[in-house]
Amino acid sequence: MKSARYSTRHNSRIPIFYWIFAAAFLALIAALGYRQIFLYDFYTKRGERQSMRRVIEPGARGDIYDRNGKLLVTNEPFFTVGIYFNEILGEFRKEYSRLKKIKFDAMRAAGETPRFKDGEVSEMTHQARANVLNRYLGMINKILGSNYEMPEDNYNRHFRINPLLPFPLIRELTAREHAILAERIPVNSPLQLYTDTKRYYPYGDIAAHVLGTVRNSDGVDSEGMPGEDLRTFAGVGKVGRSGIERAFDYMLSGQSGLKIMVVDNEGFKYEDIMDVSPKKGKSMNSSLDIDLQQVIEDSIGNRKGAAAVLDVKTGEVLALASRPSYNPNTVYKSNAEYAAAEEAGAWLNRSTQGLYPPGSTFKIVTAMSGLMTGAIDDQTVITCNGYYKVDSRLFPCNNRYGHGNLNLEGALALSCNVFFYKTGLDCGHRAIAATAKEMGLDSSTGIEIGDSPYTVVPTPEYKRRRGRGGWVNGDTANISIGQGDLLQTPLQMACMTASFARGETRTKASIVHDPTRVTDMEYHGGEKLGLTREQYETILKGMVLSSTDGTSRRARIKGVTIAAKSGTAQVTVNGRPLTLAWMVAFAPADDPKVAMSVMIEGEEPGDVGGGKTAGPIVKAAMEQYFRK
């Protein structure tokens, strides 16, 4: 028998296995080399993306001031106590284990096999988190002696979407609560006190429409920030919703801050790599004079109405009032207040978006049109018997007994309809429309916060487009006295008045205060009025007479000569006839500095009148302006 010996003879099959293993090993080395050398960048970046996160913190918005440096809108800080989930992960796990043990022990006691059914793991995880958070909330309640409940914010959603940001447990702590928690919570606790801001309007509902409000932004601007390819969590920023807040959002918006951090395999913070603080947005100086604004809004009171006051030379808007108004500090926090604002129609900015027939204030345009076409001159006298027959209809004057013989000055002072019916019919509707358009009454005022594009200077074409047939003389008579299809905003009428005061055709309104701005005729984009000196003086005298002895006499103030024109327009709203009280004015008449328009909506037919209702508001505004 041959002894079993280890054969050392060469086996020809063995090298084949060597070559196979060598080839496989080479392939492995090649693949590894390829990944390490050629795909190095790719995997490095992927590793970074997996292990790094980016947190973007929106910057605070800039402030808004009035032209005298008074603060109109700012950020009010409020304190929140929140908790960082990554610092209590261990507690979540511990609580989950405890709940699991209780459940499994109960199952064993009941003779069941301890295991989870579908969905129970998730439920237990949520319960564990809720228990831990409630424990911390309980601790805070014990310290404060309060009874706060878990916030409505879904903490599970926060866990999923924003785990690197603190979860707010109690928002808007009072100063006392903040002080107590600052002293009693240990400095290195997972509970942290941090500040957040909300927009604050120190003047409440004054100038609410023009200042505007903000809303939560849909995203945070992160353009140009490093870490674009990293998973990003962002705090909620604010964006302008209306008014100045919206029009100047690009300027007021703060610069977002950035943190890049390394996270662990569960996505919770391990360490900070980059930390760039957010920056506050730029502040804005508005042209408003808040004291003047307040006086006007107080004068309007609880009525529905609007007013616009402009600096005649620069077109800067000194006041832009709209009532009823709302308090932007509270209206979005209280359902009752929101509903009340809704019911009162407070959302509408009547000064820039409200469309109304301007009534007798439009007679300035009719007068200009009459003078420029030669239909009338400064010597023209028309007899008013209290009515004027146009075709087969009798158009009434505001004095049913008639004014007697009036020239243009007298007609403006007493606001005689008959004078202007005749003047309008004599110069023709096209001339009136042309003058109105020259004065900018069919286009935007240029104000940065935007105004209504739907102002109407009616023409036959307009009437035909509305399907109301051809133009008739009655239409001309109506627009001559500012009725009919004429629709203007109070701001538009204020601009028209300012333009007339300067002897030009256009005024560019601006809500920005810029003392360095050059505001000549080219800036405003108009031309010289097509009136001679004498013609201009005639209209001016008529307006001055209106304020001293005429229908606008309630606007009279001591020491300053005002040129004014009142108006009382009739409208039908939902089948109900209503009256609108108007007044336009500028002062001083010989060297105009300020121009304004006021409009008050009546509630019953005939309850308001231009002189008696709008006059006192103009008076109060002028007194306030010239007091300064």
Binding site: A179, E183, V187, G254, G257, S277
Partner: protein
Amino acid sequence: MALRKFTAVRNIAIFAGVLAACLLAPAVVRHYTGKAFEEFRAPLDAIPSQLNDLEKFWDLRMNYSKSELIEVGRDLARLNAGYAIKLTENEALKSRVESLEKILSLPGEEKFKMEVARVARRDINAWWQHLIIRKGAAHGIREGYAVIYGGGVVGRVVKANTYTSVVELVSSRGFRMAAHFLGEDRPVIYQGAGSLSFQDARGEVRDVPADLKASTLKPLQLVTSPLAGSFPDGILIGDVIDLTLEPDGIFRSGTVRLPRTLGGVREVAVLIPVSDLMEE
């Protein structure tokens, strides 16, 4: 040889057991062990302080003549008389404030009783900043009570043993409190700046409204706020000579210079809320 091996193994086992006991003993055991050693140590901390007082007494007796001591005593008596008048004025002011609070239905501020204690020992290092004072739970002192001295705030009681207490200093990083600037009622937050080498103690103030400014020529005085209820209003914390606007533009923050005398404080007063006394 075998005995030596056995001894070595036995020693290692005992050692491992002792180490395990030090690290892993139940919280209850650790608590009572710690307490026992604290009470045992308390006299040791109190003794140097008492010896110091004795030394000062003999120093006065030996190095100052009788007439000098009498003169100093007389000056002190005059000072005390002046303070007694001020105390009477304060009492009148206090009752006036109370009646005004009643009329206006304002919540009254917490009232305090002062328990004076001598400082036994200072314990300041890279990890904590504490004072040990010679009064404790037996004198009504509890954890969380405010501690002040003639120059302002000292800190807060963090541990009250029977006859001694541990006070966390106002300069400690873990010390945080509500405050406000003198002449201003908007609250700010003060926090200690922690241990600094060879520098005067400092703190930090933050959440300062952006419209406030401070400079070396016009420093702002930071004082305690009564909002949290642990300190009365108006006790000096320190001076702020510089306020920097935070990048978010909402608040300012700055450094608080704590009084130099804080480093050498010998006697403090623990503020015991009167409401706590009444509960007892």
